[in-house]
Protein backbone atom coordinates (compact mmCIF):
# COMPACT_ATOMS: atom_id res chain seq x y z
CA UNK A 1 0.00 0.00 0.00
CA UNK A 2 1.46 3.35 -0.99
CA UNK A 3 1.81 6.18 1.48
CA UNK A 4 -0.43 9.22 1.24
CA UNK A 5 -0.44 12.63 2.86
CA UNK A 6 -2.95 13.37 5.61
CA UNK A 7 -3.63 16.52 7.55
CA UNK A 8 -4.00 15.93 11.27
CA UNK A 9 -5.19 18.51 13.80
CA UNK A 10 -4.00 18.68 17.39
CA UNK A 11 -5.81 20.77 20.02
CA UNK A 12 -4.02 21.20 23.35
CA UNK A 13 -5.96 22.65 26.27
CA UNK A 14 -5.77 22.68 30.04
CA UNK A 15 -7.64 19.95 31.87
CA UNK A 16 -11.01 21.17 33.21
CA UNK A 17 -9.55 21.23 36.73
CA UNK A 18 -6.87 23.76 35.73
CA UNK A 19 -7.81 27.45 35.66
CA UNK A 20 -7.35 29.02 32.24
CA UNK A 21 -6.76 32.80 32.57
CA UNK A 22 -6.67 33.39 28.81
CA UNK A 23 -10.07 31.78 28.29
CA UNK A 24 -11.45 33.61 31.32
CA UNK A 25 -10.27 36.98 30.02
CA UNK A 26 -11.70 36.36 26.54
CA UNK A 27 -14.99 35.33 28.13
CA UNK A 28 -15.32 38.15 30.66
CA UNK A 29 -13.70 41.08 28.89
CA UNK A 30 -14.65 40.41 25.28
CA UNK A 31 -17.69 38.18 25.10
CA UNK A 32 -19.76 39.15 28.13
CA UNK A 33 -18.91 42.86 27.84
CA UNK A 34 -20.25 42.82 24.30
CA UNK A 35 -23.53 41.20 25.22
CA UNK A 36 -22.97 37.67 23.99
CA UNK A 37 -24.51 36.32 27.12
CA UNK A 38 -25.63 33.16 25.32
CA UNK A 39 -21.98 32.07 25.50
CA UNK A 40 -21.55 30.25 28.78
CA UNK A 41 -17.84 29.48 28.89
CA UNK A 42 -14.57 29.83 26.96
CA UNK A 43 -11.48 27.69 27.19
CA UNK A 44 -8.34 28.74 25.31
CA UNK A 45 -5.76 26.34 23.97
CA UNK A 46 -3.14 25.74 21.35
CA UNK A 47 -3.70 24.39 17.87
CA UNK A 48 -1.27 22.52 15.59
CA UNK A 49 -1.92 21.21 12.09
CA UNK A 50 0.46 18.49 10.92
CA UNK A 51 0.93 17.17 7.41
CA UNK A 52 1.76 13.48 7.78
CA UNK A 53 2.78 10.78 5.36
CA UNK A 54 1.11 7.51 6.29
CA UNK A 55 -0.47 4.39 4.83
CA UNK A 56 -3.93 5.16 6.19
CA UNK A 57 -5.75 7.98 8.00
CA UNK A 58 -5.86 5.87 11.17
CA UNK A 59 -2.08 5.39 11.05
CA UNK A 60 -1.57 9.12 10.51
CA UNK A 61 -3.58 9.93 13.64
CA UNK A 62 -1.83 7.18 15.58
CA UNK A 63 1.62 8.51 14.62
CA UNK A 64 0.70 12.05 15.64
CA UNK A 65 -0.63 10.82 18.99
CA UNK A 66 2.65 9.01 19.57
CA UNK A 67 4.68 12.09 18.62
CA UNK A 68 2.64 14.25 21.01
CA UNK A 69 3.44 11.84 23.81
CA UNK A 70 7.12 11.24 22.97
CA UNK A 71 7.99 14.88 22.32
CA UNK A 72 5.87 16.12 25.20
CA UNK A 73 3.91 18.35 22.85
CA UNK A 74 1.40 18.32 25.69
CA UNK A 75 2.12 17.86 29.37
CA UNK A 76 -0.14 15.12 30.73
CA UNK A 77 0.02 16.69 34.21
CA UNK A 78 -1.96 19.74 33.08
CA UNK A 79 -3.17 19.26 29.50
CA UNK A 80 -5.54 17.16 27.52
CA UNK A 81 -5.28 16.80 23.75
CA UNK A 82 -7.58 16.01 20.88
CA UNK A 83 -6.00 14.52 17.77
CA UNK A 84 -8.21 14.22 14.71
CA UNK A 85 -8.10 14.10 10.93
CA UNK A 86 -8.59 17.43 9.21
CA UNK A 87 -11.74 17.03 7.15
CA UNK A 88 -11.56 18.94 3.88
Amino acid sequence: MSAMLFTVNVVISYKPSIRDPEGETIYRQLILKNNYSMVKNVRAGKFLRLLVEAESPEKAVEQVKQACLDLRIYNPVVHEIEVFLHDR
Binding site: P21, K46, L71, N75
Partner: protein
Amino acid sequence: MTGNVAVLKFPGTNCDEETLRALRRHGLNARIVWHRDFVWREYDAIVIPGGFSYGDHLRAGVIAARTRAVEQVVEAALNEVPVLGICNGFQVLVEAGLLPGALIQNEHGRFTCKWVRTRVRNPKGPWLLLVSDKMVLDMPVAHAEGRYIIDEQEYVKLVGENPPLILYEDGWNPNGSMYSIAGVASGNGAILGLMPHPERAVEPELTPRGFNPGGKLIFESIYFALRNGW
Protein backbone atom coordinates in the same frame (compact mmCIF):
# COMPACT_ATOMS: atom_id res chain seq x y z
CA MET B 1 38.58 30.54 41.35
CA THR B 2 37.25 27.13 42.06
CA GLY B 3 34.71 24.94 40.33
CA ASN B 4 33.99 25.05 36.62
CA VAL B 5 30.39 26.12 36.18
CA ALA B 6 28.58 26.13 32.85
CA VAL B 7 25.91 28.74 32.26
CA LEU B 8 23.99 27.10 29.45
CA LYS B 9 22.74 29.37 26.70
CA PHE B 10 19.99 28.61 24.21
CA PRO B 11 18.55 30.89 21.55
CA GLY B 12 16.38 33.24 23.61
CA THR B 13 18.23 32.86 26.92
CA ASN B 14 18.69 36.37 28.34
CA CYS B 15 19.79 36.07 31.98
CA ASP B 16 23.13 34.45 31.20
CA GLU B 17 25.29 37.54 31.79
CA GLU B 18 23.80 38.31 35.23
CA THR B 19 24.06 34.66 36.22
CA LEU B 20 27.69 34.55 35.08
CA ARG B 21 28.42 37.70 37.04
CA ALA B 22 26.77 36.36 40.20
CA LEU B 23 28.76 33.11 39.98
CA ARG B 24 32.08 34.89 39.37
CA ARG B 25 31.40 37.35 42.15
CA HIS B 26 31.24 34.37 44.49
CA GLY B 27 34.57 32.92 43.38
CA LEU B 28 33.37 30.42 40.80
CA ASN B 29 35.09 29.82 37.50
CA ALA B 30 31.96 30.18 35.41
CA ARG B 31 31.46 30.65 31.71
CA ILE B 32 28.60 30.95 29.28
CA VAL B 33 28.35 27.87 27.06
CA TRP B 34 26.36 27.80 23.84
CA HIS B 35 24.09 24.76 23.90
CA ARG B 36 25.68 23.16 20.83
CA ASP B 37 29.13 23.28 22.45
CA PHE B 38 28.10 21.85 25.80
CA VAL B 39 29.84 18.68 27.04
CA TRP B 40 28.84 17.85 30.60
CA ARG B 41 32.11 16.23 31.67
CA GLU B 42 33.92 19.57 31.38
CA TYR B 43 31.97 21.08 34.29
CA ASP B 44 31.54 20.64 38.03
CA ALA B 45 28.11 22.29 38.05
CA ILE B 46 25.55 23.49 35.53
CA VAL B 47 23.20 26.46 35.63
CA ILE B 48 20.37 26.89 33.14
CA PRO B 49 19.55 30.60 33.42
CA GLY B 50 16.36 32.49 32.76
CA GLY B 51 15.02 33.84 29.52
CA PHE B 52 12.80 32.66 26.72
CA SER B 53 14.54 29.67 25.19
CA TYR B 54 13.24 29.07 21.67
CA GLY B 55 10.86 31.99 22.12
CA ASP B 56 8.73 30.05 24.61
CA HIS B 57 7.12 28.44 21.57
CA LEU B 58 4.68 25.62 22.26
CA ARG B 59 5.34 25.96 26.00
CA ALA B 60 8.12 27.53 28.07
CA GLY B 61 11.14 25.23 28.18
CA VAL B 62 9.72 22.33 26.20
CA ILE B 63 11.82 22.75 23.06
CA ALA B 64 15.09 23.23 24.94
CA ALA B 65 14.23 20.13 26.97
CA ARG B 66 14.47 18.05 23.79
CA THR B 67 17.93 19.28 22.72
CA ARG B 68 21.17 17.32 22.84
CA ALA B 69 22.47 19.78 25.45
CA VAL B 70 19.69 18.88 27.87
CA GLU B 71 20.28 15.19 27.21
CA GLN B 72 23.80 16.01 28.44
CA VAL B 73 22.35 17.77 31.49
CA VAL B 74 20.27 14.68 32.27
CA GLU B 75 23.39 12.52 32.02
CA ALA B 76 25.28 14.94 34.27
CA ALA B 77 22.42 14.88 36.80
CA LEU B 78 22.52 11.07 36.84
CA ASN B 79 26.20 11.45 37.72
CA GLU B 80 25.43 13.74 40.68
CA VAL B 81 26.66 16.93 38.99
CA PRO B 82 24.80 19.82 40.65
CA VAL B 83 22.23 21.38 38.31
CA LEU B 84 20.40 24.65 38.95
CA GLY B 85 17.51 25.86 36.79
CA ILE B 86 16.41 29.45 37.25
CA CYS B 87 13.04 30.57 35.91
CA ASN B 88 13.10 29.41 32.27
CA GLY B 89 15.82 26.99 33.40
CA PHE B 90 13.39 25.56 35.98
CA GLN B 91 10.81 25.18 33.20
CA VAL B 92 13.41 23.30 31.13
CA LEU B 93 14.23 20.94 34.03
CA VAL B 94 10.55 20.21 34.57
CA GLU B 95 9.91 19.62 30.87
CA ALA B 96 12.96 17.36 30.70
CA GLY B 97 11.51 15.28 33.53
CA LEU B 98 14.39 15.99 35.94
CA LEU B 99 11.95 17.61 38.36
CA PRO B 100 8.26 16.73 38.79
CA GLY B 101 5.18 18.81 38.02
CA ALA B 102 4.50 21.51 35.46
CA LEU B 103 4.86 25.28 35.21
CA ILE B 104 1.96 26.94 33.46
CA GLN B 105 0.53 30.39 32.79
CA ASN B 106 0.14 32.50 35.95
CA GLU B 107 -3.32 32.27 37.46
CA HIS B 108 -3.98 35.99 36.93
CA GLY B 109 -2.91 35.68 33.29
CA ARG B 110 -0.27 38.39 33.39
CA PHE B 111 3.50 38.61 33.39
CA THR B 112 4.57 39.28 36.96
CA CYS B 113 7.77 41.07 37.97
CA LYS B 114 8.36 41.82 41.65
CA TRP B 115 10.31 40.90 44.76
CA VAL B 116 8.85 38.04 46.77
CA ARG B 117 9.57 36.47 50.11
CA THR B 118 10.30 32.75 50.19
CA ARG B 119 11.09 30.29 52.94
CA VAL B 120 13.35 27.29 52.51
CA ARG B 121 12.20 24.03 53.95
CA ASN B 122 14.59 21.15 54.52
CA PRO B 123 17.67 22.65 52.84
CA LYS B 124 20.38 20.24 51.73
CA GLY B 125 22.60 19.59 48.75
CA PRO B 126 25.14 21.85 47.06
CA TRP B 127 22.85 24.77 46.25
CA LEU B 128 21.47 25.21 49.77
CA LEU B 129 24.47 24.04 51.79
CA LEU B 130 24.72 27.25 53.86
CA VAL B 131 20.97 27.81 54.18
CA SER B 132 19.40 26.83 57.47
CA ASP B 133 15.94 25.32 57.80
CA LYS B 134 13.03 27.79 57.55
CA MET B 135 15.38 30.58 56.50
CA VAL B 136 13.72 33.43 54.61
CA LEU B 137 15.22 34.28 51.21
CA ASP B 138 13.96 37.30 49.26
CA MET B 139 14.35 37.32 45.49
CA PRO B 140 12.56 38.86 42.53
CA VAL B 141 10.35 36.87 40.18
CA ALA B 142 9.78 37.80 36.54
CA HIS B 143 7.65 35.37 34.59
CA ALA B 144 4.37 34.68 32.80
CA GLU B 145 4.45 30.91 33.21
CA GLY B 146 5.35 30.19 36.80
CA ARG B 147 2.25 28.57 38.26
CA TYR B 148 3.55 25.30 39.67
CA ILE B 149 1.12 22.42 39.23
CA ILE B 150 1.58 18.92 40.54
CA ASP B 151 -1.05 16.21 40.90
CA GLU B 152 -1.69 14.68 44.28
CA GLN B 153 -0.03 11.36 43.53
CA GLU B 154 3.15 13.03 42.32
CA TYR B 155 3.14 15.42 45.27
CA VAL B 156 2.92 12.55 47.74
CA LYS B 157 5.83 10.87 45.93
CA LEU B 158 7.82 14.12 45.93
CA VAL B 159 7.33 14.79 49.64
CA GLY B 160 8.19 11.14 50.32
CA GLU B 161 11.66 11.79 48.90
CA ASN B 162 12.09 14.54 51.48
CA PRO B 163 13.61 17.11 49.12
CA PRO B 164 14.39 20.73 49.85
CA LEU B 165 11.49 23.01 48.89
CA ILE B 166 11.42 26.76 48.43
CA LEU B 167 7.97 28.06 49.29
CA TYR B 168 6.41 31.47 48.83
CA GLU B 169 5.56 32.95 52.21
CA ASP B 170 1.85 33.52 52.92
CA GLY B 171 0.66 36.45 50.86
CA TRP B 172 3.65 36.31 48.50
CA ASN B 173 2.53 33.64 46.01
CA PRO B 174 2.68 35.67 42.78
CA ASN B 175 1.21 33.19 40.33
CA GLY B 176 -1.18 30.73 42.01
CA SER B 177 1.38 27.94 42.45
CA MET B 178 0.07 24.84 44.20
CA TYR B 179 1.35 24.31 47.74
CA SER B 180 3.04 27.76 47.35
CA ILE B 181 5.94 26.09 45.57
CA ALA B 182 8.55 28.54 44.26
CA GLY B 183 11.29 25.96 43.90
CA VAL B 184 11.71 22.23 44.13
CA ALA B 185 14.73 19.96 44.26
CA SER B 186 15.65 16.33 43.83
CA GLY B 187 15.76 14.18 47.00
CA ASN B 188 19.43 14.97 47.73
CA GLY B 189 19.14 18.57 46.57
CA ALA B 190 21.64 18.19 43.71
CA ILE B 191 19.06 19.30 41.13
CA LEU B 192 17.29 22.52 42.08
CA GLY B 193 14.78 24.51 40.07
CA LEU B 194 13.25 27.79 41.17
CA MET B 195 11.15 30.55 39.62
CA PRO B 196 12.68 33.48 41.56
CA HIS B 197 15.98 34.87 40.29
CA PRO B 198 18.83 34.43 42.80
CA GLU B 199 21.26 36.14 40.39
CA ARG B 200 19.23 39.34 40.76
CA ALA B 201 19.43 39.19 44.54
CA VAL B 202 23.13 39.17 45.39
CA GLU B 203 23.94 42.84 46.00
CA PRO B 204 22.60 44.74 49.02
CA GLU B 205 22.84 47.90 46.90
CA LEU B 206 20.32 46.52 44.42
CA THR B 207 17.95 45.04 47.00
CA PRO B 208 14.86 47.11 47.78
CA ARG B 209 14.32 48.37 51.31
CA GLY B 210 12.69 45.74 53.50
CA PHE B 211 14.10 42.76 51.60
CA ASN B 212 17.25 40.67 51.97
CA PRO B 213 19.47 39.69 49.01
CA GLY B 214 18.35 36.06 49.15
CA GLY B 215 20.30 34.80 46.15
CA LYS B 216 23.66 35.36 47.82
CA LEU B 217 23.55 32.25 50.00
CA ILE B 218 22.74 30.05 47.01
CA PHE B 219 25.91 31.15 45.18
CA GLU B 220 27.98 30.98 48.37
CA SER B 221 26.62 27.47 48.93
CA ILE B 222 27.66 26.15 45.53
CA TYR B 223 31.09 27.74 45.98
CA PHE B 224 31.65 25.95 49.29
CA ALA B 225 30.12 22.73 48.00
CA LEU B 226 32.47 22.58 45.01
CA ARG B 227 35.49 23.69 46.99
CA ASN B 228 34.89 20.92 49.49
CA GLY B 229 34.42 18.35 46.76
CA TRP B 230 30.70 17.78 46.38
